[in-house]
């Protein structure tokens, strides 16, 4: 029982991680607090639905189409809307406030557009109707795939961040934005790329999500909030922290549900969130 609870928790946490990685990159490097992030996840789900039902491709191949769309879309978004904001803002605080307001509007725009095109009801398709048995825990294969995706993407990005020049520049901007410019890092180039990458990752989350659950245009906010809690817990811009925080969240939710009461999962989530904010406001894994 405990073993299967751990497995369920890790898989749930893995899915949360998949959703949160993109946001931590967007917020950490591009410094855009993207409240429309969840809508981009859902956009990815709807795009997958279209590709799967219109072309008959399987969702994995759809990923190869949808993720680049997410990248291009976010790239354009940054260039057209965010960059002027970034240029105008005098400090980080102002950029955050401005980006919150702008992406807040964007949230409605995307949600409304999706509702207009697809209607407000549930959309979904069936695929990969399989369950895997991991140490006695029967769990949907598509969810396991989602969790594995998160780990692979997380690990790849982590290595890139640590080992490449590109990654070093990204980290420089994330941790010491005011100094990065002195060592010749083109901040807006990297910010644009980071925002687009985050957008692509959001749509990857959407692809995985669509594999196992029906979705509606209004589901996005839910993912934005989950992702926000996770990236703040893990330390903004901190990849490893994000993944660990997501796994902790998944484990806690599952354990509280199994051992205490399912009604208290939310309370537990916010209790952890609050304790992190009180004792380690910079995040679990960031140096102050």
């Amino acid at each position: 029982m405990i073993l299967s609870t751990i497995i369920f928790g890790l898989v749930l946490g893995g899915i949360y991680a998949l959703i949160a990685i993109g946001l931590t990159i967007q917020y950490g490097v591009a410094r855009i607090m993207n409240l429309a992030y969840g809508e981009l996840v859902i956009l990815g789900s709807f795009a997958t639905f279209l590709v799967v039902t219109k072309t008959g491709l399987n969702p994995f191949l759809a990923l190869l189409i949808v993720a680049p769309i997410g990248f291009v879309f976010s790239y354009a978004l940054y260039s057209i809307i965010m960059e002027p904001l970034e240029k105008r803002s005098k400090n980080r605080g102002q950029l955050e406030v401005d980006s919150i307001l702008v992406t807040f509007g964007l949230l409605f725009f995307i949600e409304g557009s999706l509702a207009l095109v697809f209607g407000g009801g549930f959309t979904g398709y069936t695929w990969l109707e399989k369950v895997v048995d991991i140490f006695g825990a029967k769990i949907e294969l598509s969810r396991v795939i989602g969790a594995v995706f998160a780990l692979v993407i997380g690990a790849t990005l982590y290595i890139l961040m640590k080992k490449t020049h590109w990654g070093m520049a990204m980290r420089a901007i994330a941790t010491r934005p005011q100094n990065a410019i002195f060592v010749g890092i083109d901040q807006s180039k990297y910010a644009r790329f980071a925002f687009a990458l985050g957008g692509a990752l959001a749509t990857v989350g959407g692809v995985v999500l669509s594999m196992y659950q029906p979705f509606t245009p209004t589901l996005g906010v839910f993912f934005t909030m989950k992702a926000l809690i996770i990236i703040i817990m893990g330390g903004v811009g901190n990849l490893a922290g994000t993944i660990v925080a997501a796994l902790i969240l998944g484990l806690v939710e599952t354990f509280v549900s199994a051992a205490v009461d399912p009604g208290l999962t939310l309370a537990a989530t916010y209790a952890i969130f609050l304790s992190v904010l009180i004792w380690r406001p910079q995040g679990l894994f960031s140096r102050a």
Binding site: G124, T126, K130, R143, Q213, P214, F222, T254, S257
Partner: protein
């Protein structure tokens, strides 16, 4: 129908709060304009569509405000809005609404979006009454929203036809709001009918139930009634747990239910949970003798996302699919709205509109007379002849079961067209 609404998490509440407050800044300048524009477009489309009428006969104005966006949109978009559109289309294809003098008048529909905010729905109804001066108002979607507008409609004297909310426990509509009419019955009736179905099959089940419920209006109320009705029938509840809205994984809860020893599974759930629970149960081959889930089970997408493998699943509602008017309704619904109706609320929404239409044909536009006619008259509808008793439909499908691709009503078993409950349900699969 439950209020599948509100706060998916505390944080969504916060976002909704922000939506509301930020929305207000924009609304002062934008909303009035867009609303006017929208009204203009509506009027324009009606006049172009029915130009010959519009010049000679003034249209009958109706309006509704409903959740086109926000957390309630999926429910409203499945059960209610398509029926409003279908009905308006049916009426205008017939040449308009029949009046007592035998002449037809075109129907003009004014619609607003409440963005899933109760404050908005109240304001919208006031607007429909005071500015748009509509002749009749169609109700919003969901328990909370209907309860929010009930006092208002009562005060303005409009008939209120509620087909997307259970009657709150032990509320006498005639006492409370004289002109409110309830088309879905009350939660205690649904609970009692499930208890009856379990009792009917004697020792086929071990008379033990695992009960899950979503911690929100509908789930709390229905679960409470379930406990009462089941225990009264000598059925033991061996697991009783509630979970918060927005729960993402039901794996642990289902393994607990499976381990509880109960062979009847009951979930008073909302659509996303209903879908997730069913899928998890099906894929992990958890196959209790009775598998009962809440709102969403009767939705057209339910069999689709389960590859049609939902034979034997039970839920609230159901239809009599053998009735020709019902078959014709389903076909028309598909053709006009490109969607399949849900098998619980949808037919009752359409039924309520048919009753309104016929009451207008008999009494004209006098709201009090129309209300009185709805209360006392007999109407010919897609679910057969309907005469309200105590402002409520006396014969509702309380328990349905998926049988051969149709969600058939099985309780009350004495209703015309009732299917026979299949217990134990067959295995998921094939």
């Amino acid at each position: 129908m439950g209020p599948y609404r509100g706060c998916e998490t505390i944080s969504i509440c916060y976002i909704n709060f922000c939506k509301y407050n930020l929305g207000r800044f924009a609304m002062i300048s934008i909303n009035r304009r867009t609303a006017l524009k929208a009204a203009g477009i509506t009027a324009a489309s009606v006049t172009t569509g029915l130009s010959s009428f519009a010049q000679t006969v003034a249209p009958i104005k109706m309006g509704y405000i409903i959740s086109k966006t926000g957390v309630n949109a999926p429910g409203a978009g499945t059960t209610t809005i398509p029926n409003y559109e279908l009905w308006a289309d049916d009426v205008n294809k017939a040449g308009g609404l029949m009046m007592p003098d035998g002449k037809r008048r075109p129907l003009e529909m004014i619609t607003y979006d409440d963005r899933s905010l109760t404050e908005e729905v109240v304001r919208g109804v006031e607007r429909l009454v005071q500015q748009d001066k509509v002749d009749f108002i169609l109700p919003p979607w969901g328990t909370g929203f209907n309860l929010a507008v009930a006092p208002l409609l009562d005060r303005f004297g409009y008939p209120h036809l509620v087909a997307s909310s259970l009657l709150p426990t032990r509320l006498d509509p005639i006492q409370k709001w004289k002109n409110s009419f309830w088309f879905l019955g009350a939660s205690e009736e649904y609970a009692a009918s499930l208890a009856k179905a379990i009792s009917n099959v004697g020792t086929t089940t071990n008379k033990q139930v695992a009960l899950l419920s979503v911690a929100d209006g509908f789930g709390i109320a229905l679960a409470a009634e379930m406990v009462k009705a089941l225990e009264a029938a000598g059925i033991k509840i061996v697991l009783n747990k509630s979970y918060p809205i927005g729960t993402q994984s039901f794996a642990t809860l289902l393994s607990e239910a499976a381990a509880s020893g109960a062979d009847t599974f009951v979930a008073c759930s909302y659509p996303p949970d209903t879908f997730a629970l069913t899928k998890q149960a099906r894929l992990s081959a958890y196959n209790p003798k009775i598998f009962f889930t809440g709102v969403g089970t009767g939705f057209p997408i339910y069999p689709q996302i389960n590859e049609g493998k939902v034979e034997g699943v039970m839920s609230l509602g159901g239809i009599d699919a053998s009735r020709p008017t019902m078959k014709a309704y389903i076909e028309r619904h598909k053709a006009v709205t490109t969607k399949t109706p849900d098998y619980w609320g949808s037919p009752m929404v359409y039924t309520s509109l048919q009753m309104l239409e016929q009451a207008i044909a008999r009494k004209g536009l006098d709201k009090a007379a129309v209300s009185n006619e709805i209360r006392t008259g007999t109407f010919d509808t897609i679910v057969g002849k309907v005469k309200l008793v105590g402002n409520r439909t006396p014969d509702n499908w309380l328990l349905g079961q998926w049988q051969n691709g149709v969600f058939v009503g099985v309780e009350p078993s004495n209703l015309e067209g009732a299917g026979k409950a299949v217990i134990p349900k067959p295995a998921w699969g094939g």
